[in-house]
Amino acid sequence: MTTVALKPATMAQAITRALRDALAADPSVHVLGEDVGALGGVFRITDGLAAEFGEDRCTDTPLAEAGILGTAVGMAMYGLRPVVEMQFDAFAYPAFEQVVSHVSRMRNRTRGAMPLPITIRVPYGGGIGGVEHHSDSSEAYYMATPGLHVVTPATVADAYGLLRAAIASDDPVVFLEPKRLYWSKDAWNPEEPEAVAPLGRAVVRRPGRSATLITYGPSVPVCLEAAEAARAEGWDLEVVDLRSLVPFDDETVTASVRRTGRAVVVHESTGFGGPGGEIAARVTERCFHYLEAPVLRVAGFDIPYPPPMLERHHLPGVDRILDAVGRLQWEAEN
């Protein structure tokens, strides 16, 4: 293994690179979606792919999300590995029936005979000043649908690694890309990028002893920031980045919470009916006697995503996380 200098790269660049490497490595990989060709997608993630691999490998489709995913199902039936781009979270809803009734069930329906190795890329979440329908956190819908993997990166390296693993997976993967991290930078070595396999492993982003912040995607950097700020309060917070909502890494999460005895789940998605309920419930089931306080949740409010000028009030920020940590019944400590 040669040592190559790490260079700063954005998450967007890593995703583009993952698509390019996947297209180059496997002729059965096909990218399709609205504006993914000449334009390179509205986020420029597919920039250059049509030029390099041809329009048959990176295809501008008609404007119809159910049609995009429905034809991807047929392509997968014939042995291809479609990577579908949904332009924004809320614009994936027209494809919901195809997701739930076919993509997630075809393998099961056919006793394993007809797997559908489809990757559905969905830019999701808020914080980018997007007008209505451009900032939804739709992960709860996919989590509640057995047969799908649901994956979301928080770092540049993971964006590459998880996407390669998603495309290589023989199961359908909903790959949620946190929009507001597209332009976040990390030192990264694009010459030796690695797939993160198997899917389904959480990672401790920051070890700590006082309490665990369980989070994923766009909220990971916020939690890391909160953990730094918490030092001033005397709290040493552990931050677990789930990376994969399905399958769920009970092992890593449970081990962390048993160690710290306290936990807060943090995500942007609305609280009620959102992913945090599942996470808090299963952590509690597994760690009840280790818990000094109930697992708390810091989430978006139970409202439709707000207009840009109000979104900062909705998004879980450092203060709200620290408030929750403060409510973890520290008096019990003594």
Partner: protein, 381 residues
């Protein structure tokens, strides 16, 4: 000098670079449903094909009757019969090459069977056994699709993929008149036309979507007219004339195979039975309407043609019927055996590898079953 002539500078021109993409005229269907049987064209049809269609129709009719009987005996959870529509079902199956793909809707068990799927395996879903009883790759028959019209984009994607791979494969997708109202119908036809995918869409217009008659489903002149809005040819055919359905589909398949793109075929037919055994058709239609269609029966039409042209004698008719009886007896016998399902299979195909969570749940169910097997004592209660 007229006003118009004074205006050298700005004669009305069409908007820049504007032109219709296709000539619409050839896309429009004939005014009347295409017929072969009873016309001069029938004489040009291969007698062997007519005989094959005939024996399949007879078998198909018997299959529908047997399956319906099995619902009464509690051996099938539900059966949507295609009695009266056998010409469409059979022609759709016979028109394809082995390498082609069939995308049936939930009503098209018979098309799957005519293509070679084991009759019992084709009924697995409707029996309450596993969702799909056959390997779709064995006969290149996609699973019967219950959510209406959702299978159409699959057919388009598969055909497109085959073309990208350089394979000479055509996909034929079946849908009902009701299904044409779904957004998926629209999106599939549009993708197919834009991609010039080798697909044939066969709409069986059997007059009803459960209880809803065609007039409440569409105001279009015919469903075949929908083709023009996608830039593909629309064909209208008498769906009870097996030779005509076969001819129109064969032409569409040929066109698709040669790179000519998709075709929309509307076959005008009629659902003689109720929607399923659970339906009560008397609530929404009269017996006289059904009776009129009984006179236009696909088997009758073909039998007349074959008999008149002396391509079929009493012996051959008898042989076809006996063959159908054998099939039915075999089906009955096999369907009367209780299928053995393994509850553990519930966890086997959700993912390529079961997740930790599924393994835990699997263990839980196994423990429950073990306790159950051990009897009430063992169950701890």
């Amino acid at each position: 000098m007229t006003v118009m002539e004074q205006r050298g500078a700005y004669r009305p021109t069409p908007p820049p670079a504007w032109q219709p993409r296709t000539d619409p005229a050839p896309l429009l269907p004939d005014a009347l449903p295409h017929r072969v049987l009873g016309t001069e064209a029938a004489a040009k049809t291969d007698p062997e094909l007519l005989r094959r269609l005939y024996s399949h129709l007879v078998r198909g009719r018997r299959y529908n009757a047997q399956a319906t009987a099995l619902t009464k005996q509690g051996r099938l959870a539900v059966y949507p019969s295609s009695t009266g529509q056998e010409a469409c079902e059979v022609a759709a199956a016979l028109v394809l090459e082995e390498r082609d793909w069939l995308f049936p809707s939930y009503r098209d068990t018979l098309a799957a069977v005519a293509r070679g799927v084991d009759p019992v395996e084709a009924l697995t879903l409707l029996r309450g056994d596993w969702h799909t009883g056959y390997d779709p790759y064995a006969h290149r028959v996609a699973p019967l699709s219950t959510p209406l019209a959702t299978q159409l984009p699959h057919a388009v994607g598969l055909a497109h993929a085959a073309r990208l791979k350089g394979d000479d494969v055509v996909a034929l997708a079946m849908v009902g008149d009701g299904g044409t109202s779904e957004g998926d119908f629209h999106e599939a036809l549009n993708f197919a036309a834009v991609w010039q995918a080798p697909v044939v869409f066969l709409v069986q217009n059997n007059g009803f979507a459960i209880s809803v008659p065609l007039a409440k489903q569409t105001a279009a002149p015919t469903l075949a007219h929908k083709a023009v809005g996608y830039g593909m040819p629309g064909r209208l055919v008498d769906g009870n004339d097996a030779a005509a359905v076969h001819e129109v589909l064969a032409e569409a398949v040929r066109r698709a195979r040669e790179g000519g793109g998709p075709t929309l075929v509307e076959a005008v037919t009629y659902r003689i039975d109720a929607h399923t055994n659970a339906d009560d058709a008397t609530r929404y239609r009269g017996e006289d309407e059904v009776a009129a269609w009984r006179d236009h029966d696909p088997i009758l039409l073909l039998e007349r043609e074959l008999t008149e042209r002396e391509l079929l004698d009493e012996d051959a008719i008898q042989a076809a019927r006996e063959d159908a009886e054998t099939m039915a007896a075999d089906l009955r016998a096999r369907m009367n055996q209780d299928p053995v399902l393994d509850p553990m299979e519930l966890f086997a195909h959700v993912y390529a590898q079961p997740t930790t969570q599924l393994l835990e749940q699997r263990a839980q169910l196994q423990a429950e079953l073990d306790a159950e097997a051990a009897g009430p004592e063992g169950a701890g209660r």
